[in-house]
Symmetry: D2
Subunit: 247 residues, 4 copies
């Protein structure tokens, strides 16, 4: 059976992407994109087992053909008229912190390929489906959300690789918000300023006290709130940080 | 009967303040502050008639004694141990747009007295009650929200009066967020970038198409979302604008 | 003898103000404003002794009448048609760093009275003379410069008093730049992000290594550069910090 | 004869690059980089004819090997111990303004290759020479300047290509300023907010009145001022715009 509206989440792993997927799966079929199927398989099973509907598609956001194939699969699965009600770009290049003169060209480019080019390609693939969702009288304006970081706002010493990609992603988000807002698409950028509490960060900040890492579920709640905003009240940028964060 | 937790909204009129009051009144007794009782009386009646609880107190946020009296009334009404779960500063100086050399000192100061000094005095009065709310195991971290404007970010030509006050309020919000976040109080600043759809603006922007003015109820939903964020995920600044706004 | 063009510096002490005065005195008669004549008397003598021309006027920038008297004295001294080629607002409220709940209303207001109201009053007094300087075919566009600080951009914890004033001053500067730029007046804001190397800070940062404090003469050079920019190339904001500053 | 210190300007054409080259050539031998020798040949001749010293090297800033060859030629010409006293990155990707869904991947990447990757490669090539200049007791701290644009600060509608590159360049500049400032290198970013008055823009803005386009020579003066700042007083960002510019 074809569903008229789906949410598509790029960059699903054990953290924010998974929380966002669960949150949006309560209301929409969800499409989970990750390069490695290991990153979404158990989550797809979990959502489908809980009465939701999810599919996982292996895709590399930095590769136009790979993304095109992924979106073709979405249409094959949900019908060629399917609309996207929410597209979440949660992919991120490898975090790199090193003296500038030791950064290789490959490191620099490979990060940009995800945060810069990847954001561009994902937006180009998803915007036609976001616009198309307007034909289906959606409950909420179609929403395109980009996940940023502290490095979206500040180029710290030894963070040039990460910050150039995240600055670029923020520029993209602003530009799209201004072009597609008046067409009815809500584009928003979230500055995640702190460590997210995920399996990979379990051993970090052990002495920082309770709730010093950001709850991925709470990020998902914030993204859901952005999605539910009516078009008379779009938030185009939020910051998110734990109560004890220095900023 | 004494209630343990109340929400206090300063600057209640026919617009954002009223919407915020209704939203928070669904969960808490609310205290409505305005200089002129005309601004809150019918709303107090409405909330109390709908099964909520509201009191109105006449107060001038730019006058320390007036504010102290208002907060004394809150304690008299709700008990001296009452905590504040949400304090919303929605007061704003008179909007002034005129050539700089025609601005009088009185105009300049009277605006600042609301946005700058008023924000300061309201924060000093409400923070002890916000901190005290933590003793009552609140469902959500106590929240202090300041309502900003386009002029919080940009000093446009002929807007010096309004922008100096709004910039000062944003500085205050940032400083308090950094000092009181680690104490458990969520301080947030909302940049309202557009015309709010209220009775006073009914005749404005008639040719701008649907939803070109911001829904005050949607602002209230955004403030409520801020209030419900757990302390591991505080948003300290959001922007809000209609889909068609130029920015 | 009447001079056609003068530079006026508000907030002259032993630091930036004195360096700026010396720099501009090489090209223009200078008017030095400070509340306490002790702050300018030796400098006036020094400049006049070195072949320049300087007068000192006791003035409180937060008091409209005091400023009016000061500007009357300028006209009395230099002729009623005198133009101002550069007006530098270097006054600053008392630096206050303390827990927010311990700040008194007087502290809050007295800082604002210098940075907010003082900036407003000084701009209103000097802009007519800045505009008038255009009648004298000046070598450089008339220039109005406001001295800001780290706290112009960031409201740090316990800095609400200082930051609200400095944010307000930045808003003022932006608004005036946009209104008076097209009239030929160059308005600029300098973010001084670091400790200035003046007698008062002599004992500070002794272990920070060489040049860790900002040279006041170098600030003066930067202000002079701003002054010399042609109207096709106005810089409206610069930041300034020592090489080793964290930011 | 080997010269100990040179200035290197990437992105030399008929506009800012040429003005910067002339300005710095008054004090240093200059190296002019451009892909097309047509862009520097007459300028090289002009500078050498006026008693200065200039060489032009054909180089593509987005190609690591091309840049390496160019810097090898610099060492061959000026000696292997040559230091760079000022490196100016003035290259810019092709200006692109079009609906987002019509942007090709090639357009997106080719712009980034100049502004993002090009900035990275130029910085990696020039920083070792900038650091080395410190061995030669330079009159001024070695200076690395990146030329930005309005799009460095704001992602306007239909400007995603240009803005992503320019945001990335700004991130790079900030990160390098923080890492290399404490090593004695002055890194600065200039936001050129307006149309530059160069042959290519001759027919633009004809009705905008005098001086509505930015003088390239005045930009060069600003860059020279940045270069002359002592390390106790580094400006890391300036904006530049004509007096009549809306911003």
């Amino acid at each position: 059976m074809a569903s008229k509206l789906v949410a598509i989440i790029a960059g699903v792993g054990a953290g924010t992407g998974a929380s966002v997927a669960r949150k949006f799966a309560a209301s929409y079929p969800v499409v989970l994109l990750a390069r490695n199927p290991d990153n979404y398989e158990s989550l797809v099973k979990e959502i489908n087992g809980n009465g939701g509907r999810a599919i996982g598609v292996s895709a590399d956001v930095s590769d136009q053909n790979s993304l095109k194939n992924a979106f073709s699969q979405v249409e094959k699965e949900f019908g060629s008229g399917v609309g996207c009600t929410a597209a979440i770009f949660n992919a991120s290049g490898k975090f790199t912190r090193k003296p500038f003169l030791e950064v290789t060209e490959d490191e620099f480019i490979s990060n940009y390929n995800v945060s810069g080019k990847g954001g561009f390609l994902f937006a180009q693939a998803s915007l036609p489906l976001l616009l198309r969702s307007l034909d289906h009288n959606p409950s909420h304006p179609p929403t395109l959300i980009f996940t940023g970081a502290t490095a979206s706002m500040k180029g710290s010493a030894m963070f040039s690789v990460f910050a150039t990609g995240k600055f670029a992603l923020r520029a993209l988000s602003q530009s799209l918000a201004r072009e597609f807002g008046p067409k009815g698409v809500h584009v928003s950028h979230a500055i995640i300023d702190g460590v997210i509490d995920i399996p990979r960060t379990k051993e970090w900040m052990k002495d920082a006290g309770p709730d010093a890492k950001i709850s991925a579920d709470a990020i998902a709640d914030a993204y859901w709130h952005l999605h539910t905003q009516p078009r008379s009240c779009f938030t185009n940028e939020i910051d998110i940080r734990p109560w004890v964060e220095k900023w």
